[in-house]
Symmetry: D3
Subunit: 133 residues, 6 copies
Amino acid sequence: MDREERYAYGLKVLNEVDGEAGQRVVASLADVSPELGHQVVAWAFGDMYARPELSPRDRQLVTLGVLTALGGCEIELDVHLNAALNVGLTATEIAEALLHSAVYAGMPRAVNATLVAKKVFAERGIPPVQNLS
Amino acid sequence: MDREERYAYGLKVLNEVDGEAGQRVVASLADVSPELGHQVVAWAFGDMYARPELSPRDRQLVTLGVLTALGGCEIELDVHLNAALNVGLTATEIAEALLHSAVYAGMPRAVNATLVAKKVFAERGIPPVQNLS
Amino acid sequence: MDREERYAYGLKVLNEVDGEAGQRVVASLADVSPELGHQVVAWAFGDMYARPELSPRDRQLVTLGVLTALGGCEIELDVHLNAALNVGLTATEIAEALLHSAVYAGMPRAVNATLVAKKVFAERGIPPVQNLS
Amino acid sequence: MDREERYAYGLKVLNEVDGEAGQRVVASLADVSPELGHQVVAWAFGDMYARPELSPRDRQLVTLGVLTALGGCEIELDVHLNAALNVGLTATEIAEALLHSAVYAGMPRAVNATLVAKKVFAERGIPPVQNLS
Amino acid sequence: MDREERYAYGLKVLNEVDGEAGQRVVASLADVSPELGHQVVAWAFGDMYARPELSPRDRQLVTLGVLTALGGCEIELDVHLNAALNVGLTATEIAEALLHSAVYAGMPRAVNATLVAKKVFAERGIPPVQNLS
Amino acid sequence: MDREERYAYGLKVLNEVDGEAGQRVVASLADVSPELGHQVVAWAFGDMYARPELSPRDRQLVTLGVLTALGGCEIELDVHLNAALNVGLTATEIAEALLHSAVYAGMPRAVNATLVAKKVFAERGIPPVQNLS
């Protein structure tokens, strides 16, 4: 694949996983760092995300762990919480994944990520998460 | 103590230390991750904060150090700067603790935490901090 | 459950998930911070890990993401890479999860975590990981 | 140099490098932590930045790397992206430095820093950055 | 004070607080970055640590919080755990401060810092820490 | 370019910049995550490092800033401190870049990176760094 084909392939993966939210981030980079937008699409999605060794649902669990731990990634959590729902994680599972992160990344990181989830769930009309146990 | 008793005890500690600011964070979690709210109250405050090995004033000094170093914890710093004042740290001591953090966490982390302190001090009508030396 | 029962329950979960590696970390804390060892067992495993909202396999994917992103967690990665294998992730899936982390946490964090995986896989006699694609 | 002379010298360096953006941050600290403002000026700029071992342009490349990696430093990136332009880095070089950071600090940190650059470039009327290659 | 006097004053403070452990770190920098050694002594200790707004004991609580949260600071924790004991914190209080950090920085950071404390306490012949509660 | 050509091109860039140190890291990944090794070579060096928008010397200044700020990157700093010398930064400039990082990332991160530089400089027979000023 050449550079344009790698981009086209990555864009297809990005659209399946992230939907509009991912495209908005890429678009926002167009006039300041078109190459960063290209790499997000062609490399992060085309080369990396599309690999068959791990399912999209599994990838999103890893991604939620990374973004929660990093902190300061509200923009990216918004995209990837939408992606998590898109690839089959339920709101309950997502809330639990962020709760689980509290053990390893501390309460503040988990609270911050959970407040982004609250916003994303509300935007998608998802009813309040309740504990199973 | 059972689960409800642990929560009730933690809530009593939380209210003494954090006042309204802490309750607001817990309330904001109610419809997205009630268990995270439960753990903040029952575990972080009931099990951990309430232990007698360290005074609340000492705990807040540690907490300010951790939150300043982590970065991206403006919501939590708001709560814990209020808590710091509630348990007896003066505005001068708090500003100095954040200044001290600059040595180990760098100037940006210290500046960011200090700007949250500026907001909290203003909300509570605390006059400008002046240097002793 | 009282304090001792919570510990006993957590220890059962810890042993199922982490095996000996987890017990070694808890034992290493016994003469410096027995309460930290208690909280790792009773809270992190008994209260949090054991919740049914997320499977152990899913939890380990999140944990690997968090620990990779934090950096400097070689001791904990050793424990949790063993745990990941114990709960059903394959070496190929684990290597891919760490590779995936590189997109969000950068190459150095992914390389460092992968070098711990190399050690753990070797200790367990796991043959070299090969790409599917 | 005494304390006041060190401050005056640092302020001269700060003004040359950061211009108004740096002064605004120092001014914002005046009523909450005047000593932190003093240290930013007298130490960070007077003692450290002014040293001849590294040019201002080189220093800003290092600073952009540090601030991008730390995350949560939007206020400081605003100041230092302006500084980077002031000391001779072009918008293309800056965008590339942030893109380069993605390899080591991950895509989210690079995207976040680049979105601050987008704002700073727009405020200064800099035309869209285009790829050379 | 001129540059040499500031260094001499900082060295006096460093020796009182850190003892030999701090001097070893400064000595280790002598042939690679004498200015970094100078700044640790003259600025971090002479200008910052020596300020009267916060007691040495309070400063060490903040420092332990920052270093635990940063992670990867085993060398610095070694110095500052010794310093914490030197300025009057007991081993029980130190272990509790690190335990408290777990709430905000997560279990791995707290475990890692506690394992450095274990080493420092052993070197100084401090008997095992026991829970009060 | 196809996958193999991208790898070959990246390897050429890697060898020019990092020399043996970079190849050792890639080789260490061969039996645990060959794809991570591939991405370091083909993407990080072939796609990103080789871009003409920023000189290798400028890239290494950014990289040193990022790796110092991240912490826990001793393996990568070893490679990139060698690379920094290979692309024309002097030992004095490198020590100064790490000193400069202390302002933004704090003293511990700067000290840790500087101690890796001490090792690398010694291995290459570089005489002690002295202050110009």
